[in-house]
Symmetry: D5
Subunit: 98 residues, 10 copies
Amino acid sequence: MLFQAKITVRVPPGTDMEKIKALSAEEIELAKGLQRTGKWLHIWRIAGKWANISVFDVDSVDELHNILTSLPLYPYMEVEVTALCRHPASIEGETAAL
Amino acid sequence: MLFQAKITVRVPPGTDMEKIKALSAEEIELAKGLQRTGKWLHIWRIAGKWANISVFDVDSVDELHNILTSLPLYPYMEVEVTALCRHPASIEGETAAL
Amino acid sequence: MLFQAKITVRVPPGTDMEKIKALSAEEIELAKGLQRTGKWLHIWRIAGKWANISVFDVDSVDELHNILTSLPLYPYMEVEVTALCRHPASIEGETAAL
Amino acid sequence: MLFQAKITVRVPPGTDMEKIKALSAEEIELAKGLQRTGKWLHIWRIAGKWANISVFDVDSVDELHNILTSLPLYPYMEVEVTALCRHPASIEGETAAL
Amino acid sequence: MLFQAKITVRVPPGTDMEKIKALSAEEIELAKGLQRTGKWLHIWRIAGKWANISVFDVDSVDELHNILTSLPLYPYMEVEVTALCRHPASIEGETAAL
Amino acid sequence: MLFQAKITVRVPPGTDMEKIKALSAEEIELAKGLQRTGKWLHIWRIAGKWANISVFDVDSVDELHNILTSLPLYPYMEVEVTALCRHPASIEGETAAL
Amino acid sequence: MLFQAKITVRVPPGTDMEKIKALSAEEIELAKGLQRTGKWLHIWRIAGKWANISVFDVDSVDELHNILTSLPLYPYMEVEVTALCRHPASIEGETAAL
Amino acid sequence: MLFQAKITVRVPPGTDMEKIKALSAEEIELAKGLQRTGKWLHIWRIAGKWANISVFDVDSVDELHNILTSLPLYPYMEVEVTALCRHPASIEGETAAL
Amino acid sequence: MLFQAKITVRVPPGTDMEKIKALSAEEIELAKGLQRTGKWLHIWRIAGKWANISVFDVDSVDELHNILTSLPLYPYMEVEVTALCRHPASIEGETAAL
Amino acid sequence: MLFQAKITVRVPPGTDMEKIKALSAEEIELAKGLQRTGKWLHIWRIAGKWANISVFDVDSVDELHNILTSLPLYPYMEVEVTALCRHPASIEGETAAL
């Protein structure tokens, strides 16, 4: 099941940026791992912002919530979830079936 | 170059729905063709709405604009474009390189 | 899997209200049937508005989308979907397990 | 009488998180107790957020306000209340009457 | 129980204004009657707008909804309901008790 | 002359709450006094919020501004003023004349 | 007593523009008359819009409402009223007193 | 050339209020001086807020920007500029010509 | 003097599109002429929308308003004007001086 | 390829302004350099604000993102990117071709 998450990171001034960099590095590894398992399908940077648009393929809303809240930078994130479904014009299923 | 387009279709009451259905069928074919050329990477339906989230891979902003405005339902669409770039956590390039 | 849908009905002036009433009656029957199957868990009227807050328990986002778009008044609806998950403070699972 | 409360928790950076965890644990117990008395009908987590959608069944608006402001995390909450009423399509009364 | 309703009337251009005037006259009588019964406590015009701020004292949310939807101009109204409760600084109870 | 003021109190985390409580107690006394003089007609708590809806009957906008800015919690308030006038459906004048 | 009114005119497509022009000419005469009486202090066009920012000096909110609703184009207007008062930095009173 | 500036002052809690008062006193003198030169035409307090609506008559946008950014409280201000032009209903030019 | 205008064209369904095309062709010629005189500095299409971002160099706000309202599609436009001034980082003056 | 970036700088109270001034001076040099290379086409100050409207001509969205995030004041910026394309009414290409 597919969900888009628009994730914006807001680090308040005065935060220890070394800590943020460490969390960020940890997050990148975690995100790569979740992409390899097929749970985190896509992640794109939004130009000009510390924000990304991600697409997740999960078994349940609870699984999505657990992934998002386990991200190291989650305490600094604002997340907007949008439930997605198959579009009649999409050929993604067809391609995969080849 | 990647762009997300959030496309919402608004058909005012009183519109000839047979015409809209015909335009919609035409659009689905056009969208499938653009997906096969690799210009239209993804299209997902937003649950509960006549709206989709699409990702395009185009050579220029002009190409994106031309694709969007050539869609049969364009006169009924509200389109929000977001410029995307590679995210440091993304493995999409790596996968494609295999 | 649980989703909240906030559903607002907007009937433009000049619409044939007899037709709307007939669609509305049809919708009430359909909603009652879906409640009996356990797909449509709750429906509450928002005070002062032609709008409701509903909670659905569906197997997939696609199922949710199909239910919503099959509603007789769907062409007059604005729908906002929110993905829900179990709250650690909820006792609903416990109660059901008794 | 039914009210929906959309409750968002915002803990500013720099807050003592041990204190927040303690308040949160206390709140979960309080919420479970209010569910058992039938005052707090439902509580669902909103995916990706420290927020919930709750439905209360109270005797008066004052009772609702007292419950909300007595929550241990109330000083960190933003609450939006929506007054609900019975929907003609609802079968909840019927079911309960069986 | 007290509720504020902010009521805005929007009559689309081209509407038969004689009909609107008749509905409006009917509504004024109905509103005066409800004020005399103590259900409709206050009604004030918002300067510069076809809109009012009203306060209702009702036994339930359902009663409020029934009053609002029975207003002759209801099909042209946008209504925002706010649930109110006693303020610790209010002396209204005290005055009434004298 | 009547004005509605929607008053929201925002106390930033870390504020000395004993000081806030003292200001709040002072404000309640001041508000009661102004109600007795007939300047502050109504004050209602908005359910779930540290906010109120008040109605003032003042001789001028300057008098209203002076009252609002003299409130002990004014530095923590966000105030939205709405100018009100007599509604043709109101019977308040009539009642008072009896 | 001073009030700012931000007045936006929205004429829906298909309206008889000869009628609008006639109402507009009538309104200009009425506005000039009210400026000469000192009730309508200022009127400025907002660049790029069919909208103006006006300042009125009236005896009461009711007088303001009556002026605004008597404007020939009022049925096409959206009006936002802001209550103004004397600013401590203003020299307008001083100048007038010379 | 005329511009409206809506100026809102936001002083974060914890600011040295003696310093703010000193800046404010300085600003009032500066504003009075600019009114006497005819650059700052009007300044009105918005009721209930630390905010004003001002009208400036300047030779260029750069002059306007320089005036605004030279205000002692500028670091605490949020400024919204609206470009104004002569309204066909205005008699201000006529009056001045007498 | 520089102003940005964000211009959005909204043509309601049912409009005679031949007429719109003729107005649009006329507007393009007018825009080109104004660019050649140096009044209309830039015009860029916003991707995915019938909208543009334009920059004007005019002698006064009145001149800007006259240009905008004389555009053939003005009745279908929503225009947002932003007053611009020289940025300390800009080299545009320097380049022109070479 | 053209992009507009609306850049707003927000420096929280309590920030070391000497540091901000140094970053700002550095940024002006960097911006001038990028203008000379033709990457940063325009930069205009928005009147009354610490904000600018810039137009960039870059080879890719990634290049745009890299430029923006390398700005010394980037941690204090809020950036809104708009993808632009050639407008049929523009003569900019023609002029350049002369």
